[in-house]
């Protein structure tokens, strides 16, 4: 949303595992076309220059009210050689809003606090490759991630209990939405049904486990069928297309985005000029110019602090 530089009514995220490809011109078009204010690039080639990407992202004309992109530089650096060391976050949000909670080899958990908005948790993932393992490793990382997200959420809830539990997890999970790490109660506990997510936590073994809602299920069975194509994976079940890049949200986020007319969750197959060659069967087998993944877009409004406090007060009165 193009508004005054100090007002941030929404978060518009683009996640793309670029497979070390120099796709900055494509990313510029994606960012401009979708009004992106947080861009997450995984498998960023170490030989590429962050500065060149920033310059490209900030190419003129800069329009009134449009903030520049900056690189988010965590206080705690990811370990050299790990998946997170190859993740770059570029943002138009003020850098002072970002606070790192956890830096893991396979994910990072942040809280973002913007003026007059409820703070929210943002987790960014790059789980172990599906070619190496198709279950155990992803599930183990998912369990650790869920625990770290819950820590961040607890801290935010302690600071202000009137804030909604507003958490977003986006990234490359190297797992499908129905795999245990994503869907199981001890994993990320992400359900495909809004009603289930909104119906309170899942009870299992005498404990309560808050749900995530996973809007990615809507892409199963429809073009582009997934975010990654691989017809040579050693697996008794052949999928060809995998939905490995996903966004999960806490139930409180559901009312702040829309999946209908102009969906706020999209797997992007084109940057507005070129169609990504993953869509071409020949390129799927011969190698890609752009990436072996398709980019993922997610947008939601951010809850206003004052309005949410009023809403909670109203709910308490009604009860």
């Amino acid at each position: 949303m193009l508004v005054s530089e100090s007002v941030f009514p929404e978060v518009a995220l683009l996640f793309w595992n670029v497979q070390k490809k120099d796709v900055k011109h494509n990313v510029v078009r994606l960012a401009q076309g979708h009004g992106i204010n947080i861009l997450v690039v995984a498998e960023f080639d170490k030989d590429q220059d962050d500065g060149a990407w920033i310059m490209a992202l900030n190419e003129p004309p800069r329009l009134p009210g449009e903030n520049e992109f900056h690189l988010v530089s965590p206080v705690e650096k990811p370990r050299v050689g790990t998946a997170m060391a190859h993740v770059r976050i570029f943002t138009r949000l003020p850098l002072t809003a970002w606070r790192l909670c956890t830096m893991h080899n396979r994910y990072a958990v942040w809280t973002i606090t913007l003026p007059n908005r409820c703070p929210f948790t943002l987790a960014i993932t790059h789980f172990p490759a599906i070619q190496q393992d198709q279950g155990d490793q992803q599930r183990e990382v998912a369990i650790a991630l869920r625990q770290d997200i819950e820590k961040s959420e607890t801290n935010l809830q302690q600071a202000d209990p009137s804030d909604p539990l507003f958490s977003i997890v986006i990234g490359d999970f190297n797992a499908n939405p129905f795999d245990a790490g994503i869907a199981a109660v001890y994993g990320l506990n992400a359900t495909h049904l809004k009603a289930t997510a909104l119906g309170g936590p899942r009870k299992a073994n005498g404990r309560e486990h808050p749900y995530f809602f996973n809007p990615m299920w809507r892409f199963l069975g429809v073009e582009p069928w997934g975010s990654y194509f691989d017809n040579a994976l050693a697996n008794p079940i052949r999928f060809d297309w995998f939905l490995l890049d996903q966004v999960l949200v806490r139930p409180d986020v559901i009312r702040f985005f829309d999946l209908h007319e102009e969906p706020d969750v999209q797997i992007l197959t084109s940057d507005g000029i070129v169609e990504f060659d993953l869509m071409l069967p020949k390129k799927q087998s011969d190698g890609n110019v752009y990436s072996d993944r398709l980019p993922l877009y997610f947008r939601c409004d951010l809850p206003e602090k004052a309005r949410e406090a009023l809403r909670l007060e109203q709910e308490n009165t009604d009860e």
Binding site: L2, G33, P61, R62, P64, I273, D277
Partner: protein
């Protein structure tokens, strides 16, 4: 119930008095493709940042045979009134943007960009690589 109704004017019959910038850019893209035998094309990317009434067009040189290489040549942006439109060559600071009060002025300035030494060098370099 009252018989109040809303009257919607007939929007479709008005012919624009000036050629919209995007139409001029699309024409330039088509002509560039013809002049290079289809080796180098122009592509126009339009964004409407933040659902505002601002329109930003980027004119790219595009060589499909070079892994779909694209290179920004210039930018044009304007509001819903179309003119004045601002024109900026890629690589120039935004302070060098040239306001164009109407389609004639925009056409003349675009002609200058396409005729410039820098553009010729770029297009010829792309053609040479595409033909090897």
């Amino acid at each position: 119930m009252s018989d109040l109704s809303i009257t919607i004017p007939n929007f479709g019959v008005q012919t624009p008095t000036q050629k919209p910038p995007i139409e001029m850019l699309r024409e330039a893209a088509r002509t560039l493709k013809q002049q290079t035998g289809g080796v180098v094309e122009g592509s126009v990317f339009t964004s409407n940042p933040g659902r505002s009434n601002l329109f930003r067009h980027t004119f790219y040189l595009r060589a499909r045979s070079l892994n779909d290489y694209t290179y920004p040549l210039f930018y044009v942006w304007h509001n819903a009134d179309l003119y004045p439109a601002n024109l900026l060559e890629a690589g120039e600071p935004q302070s060098n943007a040239q306001p164009c009060k109407d389609d004639t002025e925009l056409r003349d300035k675009l002609n200058s960009i396409f005729a410039s030494h820098g553009t010729r060098q770029l297009v010829e370099a792309l053609m040479a690589q595409a033909n090897t």
